[in-house]
């Protein structure tokens, strides 16, 4: 999507496309429920050609495919995934998304607008939120007279498409020493996976749910290191971080680390499902040591070991 003013990197900002799905309340009123998705994943919004779910669908969310400029676009009914009884009407929209090398369309009642926010404004989901909506809420945004639920599209797409799953990711490489990794990731599912895979490569893992928590931990390590006359590398050998997270994103975390005299020698690896040229450039501008896109997660452990042993 075209942007007139480019988002700066390391400013902790991101943009969401707000959309809504209309439900009929028990009293008969039409209630819009507001949701958001990261603009970085959206390629366009089109009018829905009124697809009907088929009896032969692989999954109840799957509405079929539509041609889109020579490609075949699978369309998913987001309201079915969210367990909502969508009130169908004539002019619904399909939000076309692309990430991790796959494209899909999400059927919604309509779109509202794009908001530019900071990750700091995103209210992180408590544990109970993660139990809801099939675990697809990254957080909530207060838009004044209503809340917007920011959805984790990757979770939804992965759950619906087994081929998309990160379970394919495995490493055979093993570190010669037990290296300490700080893993920063807001999705509990992905945290578990990273824990499993990196531990298998002989890493000792510490976890943080977002950049702010991670930076707090690093500051504590640094303070302790100074007391014990050690360096931060006695506590952490490498930081492995997701990019999109509530409160503080991966780019901002990297910038904070590299701007801190006691921390800047720590190798930082960023990963995301949307490592495009633009994002790769952003990662370089905040001096991330390496960037991995989701399909290439296999090389994560190997690259971490390489960066640790190089210094």
């Amino acid at each position: 999507m075209e942007q007139e003013i480019l988002l700066e990197t390391g400013t902790n900002e991101f943009e969401i496309l707000e959309f809504f799905i209309t439900e009929k309340s028990p009293s008969g009123k039409m209630i819009p429920n507001y949701f958001g998705m990261n603009v970085a994943k959206v390629t366009e919004v089109i009018e829905s050609p009124n697809l009907q779910s088929s009896d032969y669908a692989v999954h109840p969310c799957f509405l079929g495919t539509i041609p889109l400029r020579g490609d075949v676009l699978p369309v998913l009914d987001l309201s079915v995934w969210l367990g909502m009884d969508r009130n169908k009407h004539e002019h619904e929209n399909i939000i076309v998304t692309k990430f991790s090398n796959s494209m899909q369309g999400f059927l919604v009642s309509g779109v509202v607008e794009i908001h530019r926010l900071t990750w700091k404004e995103l209210i992180p989901p408590g544990t109970f939120m993660q139990l809801m909506n099939n675990k697809s809420i990254i957080g909530m945004i207060d838009a004044g007279d209503h809340f917007i639920q920011l959805l984790d599209l990757e979770y939804i797409v992965t759950a619906l498409n087994p081929n998309h799953a990160e379970s394919d990711w495995h490493t055979t490489v093993k570190a010669s020493n037990e290296y300490k990794a700080l893993v920063v990731e807001d999705s509990p599912t992905i945290r578990k996976m990273l824990q499993k895979n990196l531990s298998a490569s002989n890493f000792n893992i510490k976890m943080a749910s977002n950049g702010e928590e991670a930076f707090g931990m690093l500051k504590q390590f640094l303070a302790q290191a100074e007391l014990d006359d050690k360096t931060i590398k006695d506590f952490v050998d490498v930081v492995i971080s997701d990019i999109e997270m509530p409160l503080m994103d991966g780019f901002t975390l990297t910038k904070q680390i590299k701007n801190n005299a006691g921390m800047r020698d720590l190798p930082v690896i960023l990963y995301s499902s949307i490592i495009t040229d633009e994002l790769r450039h952003k990662g370089e501008s905040v001096k991330a040591d390496f960037q991995v896109s989701k399909p290439d997660m296999d090389i994560m452990a190997e690259k971490a070991i390489e960066l640790i042993e190089r210094t």
Binding site: G126, F128, M129, M132, M140, D142
Partner: protein
């Protein structure tokens, strides 16, 4: 989308909200003690707790809890801007508000038909007339 049917979700929400209430309660009483030297970071932290609580209640469509959390946010905002003093009356109203939310959590399925007009008025009375 009726999450109120899901016991796990409700139990966890209640647990988390009680946690938020605890922090808010301790925080507001500490602010009273601080008097003139109120810690901005503390106000911000209490505000965040109320904000998160409000978001959670909104998600579960628990309107009364959301409403109370929203009013508390408004007062915390006034405290932050130094437009209202954290005196005995304010703390009293706040604590009453927190207790009301605890009562609503106790009977969560009926929390929206509970009558909270009295506590709402009490809290509104704290807001200076010029607002």
């Amino acid at each position: 989308m009726d999450f109120r049917e899901d016991e796990d979700v409700i139990e966890t929400f209640i647990e988390e909200t009680l946690g938020h209430l605890e922090i808010i309660q301790n925080g507001i009483m500490f602010l009273e003690k601080q008097g003139q030297n109120m810690d901005d970071k503390l106000i911000h932290q209490i505000f965040r707790e109320a904000h998160t609580m409000k978001a959670g209640a909104n998600l579960l469509e628990l309107k009364n809890i959301e409403r109370l959390a929203h009013h508390m946010e408004d007062i915390l905002d006034l405290i932050r801007k130094k437009q209202v003093v954290v005196d005995n009356d304010l703390v009293g109203a706040f604590l009453h508000g927190l207790d009301t939310i605890r009562d609503l959590l106790d009977d969560i399925q009926d929390s929206d038909i509970a009558d909270i007009a009295v506590i709402l008025q009490k809290i509104k009375n704290i807001i200076p007339v010029s607002q």
